[in-house]
Symmetry: C2
Subunit: 276 residues, 2 copies
């Protein structure tokens, strides 16, 4: 790819403004998943509708996305509304439809931050191998979007190709991995929002088998700002994901996204539909 | 309170339907917090707008609430819309306003569950004292809503009255407590949604001091059904809460709600504004 070409993530989140707060957009083949686009690309697209809005206040604090129906390759209509703007916080409702039907819905908090006392209770994993010392994941049956990430699993899974070989269940579904955009791209809120959905469904790891599944809703909390993200640039981030409970057709998983220097950039949670 | 009287939670979540999916509601003095109502009561009220809706499909899987502005004691106008109904899942948007301005917003997934393989990766705490062997929390400066819960802290905090006595910071903010409605009330999705917000702001515990704060958004995942909740009745539930990251004016906390028998009923996360 020549240096001057647009990064595929920027193509995937591109918005064509048709009126204030109203946009059209399209899926991008680089972020295709088994059915419709990768959820992370959808999260980034919807967040971008608020990021690009002239009434935006400050930077993203949280995002909740509802994946209401499969998104097709037809045009996507997006409406972004700042439903309440206070002195330092702003609440957003962002809705996406195709052919007049809701396909995704997103709410978000933006805010002006002030410097305060800060601390992190979660511990950064100790004794990690550096990204250069971990092999990139390589597997046959990968959906296209996984080629947009450099994924280097430190623990939790080595190859998805072996799933289905009648492997025994694992006692939990924790994974750690180094991850960055592929090709490399300077980190910003859009790419961080997308990376929050890059963790494989925990049920694959827990049960060591393929399971029909789909994320129904994703919530991410951002503990950073644009300046910090820009300083990270295209360095690898560390992700750590775990499962919580799997029960009668749905499970939830939680994850952390850290800078290599041990700053917790985001915490993210999702609930996933599964079928036996 | 005579046996025949309505429970204060039922009074707090009562809806007066004015048109399909449109309701009016009111705050209840029993759930008053320092400013406006307890967030858990608001979460339960908004969830109830979907629970009572004639187009509801199945039972709640997730709920995200945005606390957009302080709710006053004036009438609350609520609109509940099933924005997308699929074969077995349904996505909701529920908006609350006062005097034409949004004060809260909620999204939710409802679904029909089927019996499947199930498992829990999170471990239930071992060697817990039973609720009868833990003293109910007693403190002077308690907001009224805390009297609607029987709160028995096993660890993490003994008394909020001592906060502000120049105590040293703690290394983390984990708490465990037994909790049930006061007066006792049979558990259902509305009361579980409210209990998901019953954990004190982690920053109070972490810093051992009062801090001006307010939850901006809360997400809860429900791993149960009405039948299981009815069987629990008014028994105590075990809550375990922890802080994640506190950074420049916002922090996030996560919690689990368990039955006394060790079933994980809900996982819940929130991001909280704070000021120094």
């Amino acid at each position: 790819m020549p240096d001057t070409a647009i990064h595929p993530l920027d193509a995937a989140i591109a918005l064509n403004e048709t009126a204030p707060g109203r946009y059209t957009a399209h899926t991008h083949p680089g972020y295709a998943n088994a059915v419709g686009p990768f959820g992370g690309a959808t999260a980034a697209l919807l967040l971008n509708a608020a990021l690009q809005h002239p009434q935006r206040l400050g930077e993203p604090i949280s995002q909740t996305v509802h994946f209401a129906a499969p998104i097709t390759d037809e045009p996507i209509q997006i409406t972004a509304t700042p439903v309440r703007t206070n002195r330092s916080t702003q609440h957003w409702l962002i809705q996406a439809s195709q052919n007049g039907e809701t396909v995704a819905m997103c709410t978000s908090v933006f805010a002006l931050r002030r410097e305060t006392w800060s601390a992190t209770d979660v511990k950064f994993p100790a004794d990690l191998p550096s990204p250069e010392n971990v092999k990139p994941m390589d597997w046959q049956r990968r959906p296209e979007f996984t080629r947009r990430y450099d994924l280097r699993y430190v623990s939790g899974i080595a190859s998805l190709d072996r799933l289905g070989e009648d492997l025994p269940e694992l006692p939990d579904a924790e994974s750690m991995l180094w991850v960055r955009d592929e090709p490399p791209r300077p980190l910003d809120f859009a790419s961080l929002a997308s990376i929050c959905d890059v963790f494989f469904p925990r049920i694959f790891i827990r049960r060591q088998r393929w399971t029909p599944m789909g994320t129904v809703t994703l919530t991410s909390y951002f503990h950073t700002d644009s300046k910090t993200l820009a300083a990270i640039g295209s360095a690898h981030l560390l992700g750590r994901a775990r499962g919580n409970r799997y029960w009668n057709g749905f499970f939830d998983q939680s994850a952390e996204v850290w800078s290599a220097q041990g700053q917790l950039m985001a915490t993210t949670h999702q609930i996933v539909y599964f079928k036996e």
